[in-house]
């Protein structure tokens, strides 16, 4: 694991914000995970987090599912936690939909305790960022359903997905169609 220059590489359309669609799979529906980046083989810093064109192999009939949040509501935070010299990542994806209905309540009921793998994209597009790795799945950490009394209040269904240890990993593609 080498140290490399960072010389200001940015995307031309950098901005805050996430795309509204999030990809969510049940951890146990995944047959094979992409190989995690090899820390001894990287030739650039991005190689330590980039899964590139490798693929998730899902179990037969299983797939990633879409969850459509609201515009400018999904948010992501990754923090370095732990003692100096023993730092680790703690990642939190917030997914919010300004609605409350049977589909959302049912989704929370069915998935609140389910081990997950979750993918999301920044507004600039490109690769998905993945939370959840072999043995370290992502989980719903918090969730709430709010229906304020005032019509101007923010009605919403919200949940956070938390993963640990690894930073978010980048991958080119995810399947939203069943495996054969």
């Amino acid at each position: 694991m080498n140290l490399y220059d960072f010389v200001g590489e940015i995307e031309l359309e950098e901005s805050a914000g996430l795309q509204v669609e999030v990809a969510i799979a049940a951890y146990h529906d995944i047959e094979t995970f992409p190989d995690l980046p090899d820390l001894s083989a990287g030739t650039a810093s991005k190689d330590y987090v980039d899964l590139g064109a490798s693929a998730f192999v899902m179990k037969s009939t299983k797939q990633f599912h879409k969850f459509e949040g609201s515009l400018e509501k999904n948010a992501f935070s990754s923090q370095l936690v732990g003692a100096r010299g023993a730092k680790s990542f703690e990642n939190t994806l917030t997914i919010m939909k300004n609605a409350m209905n049977s589909h959302l309540c049912g989704w929370l009921r069915a998935n609140r305790n389910r081990p997950l793998v979750v993918g999301f994209k920044p507004l600039m597009g490109g690769q998905f960022l993945i939370l959840g790795t072999p043995g370290l799945w992502a989980e719903i950490d918090e969730g709430s359903i709010e229906v304020p009394g005032e019509v101007a209040g923010e009605k919403m269904t919200m949940f956070t997905v938390r993963s640990i240890f690894y930073p978010p990993l980048f991958i080119d593609a995810l399947p939203f169609t069943p495996a054969v």
Partner: protein, 78 residues
Amino acid sequence: MSAKKPKTTPILDGAYLVVGIVPGLCGTKLGMVDLSKINAAKAEQLLAIGFPYLRKAPAKAEPAKTTRRRTDKKDSNE
């Protein structure tokens, strides 16, 4: 033990193979792409970015040329 060979589904008249999934919606670096509705140009774009769920079908072998005389026709002199 060798890894399980992924199943493939031909699309675009068999010119391309969808690998391991039903031809349908995928999230890609090019955005959402429905593999059941793409054309050859989009397929080539996906191959160019290394999209892992698609590959080009191997070229079909030319039918072997034969010099064997056909025997199913009766000789006109008979």
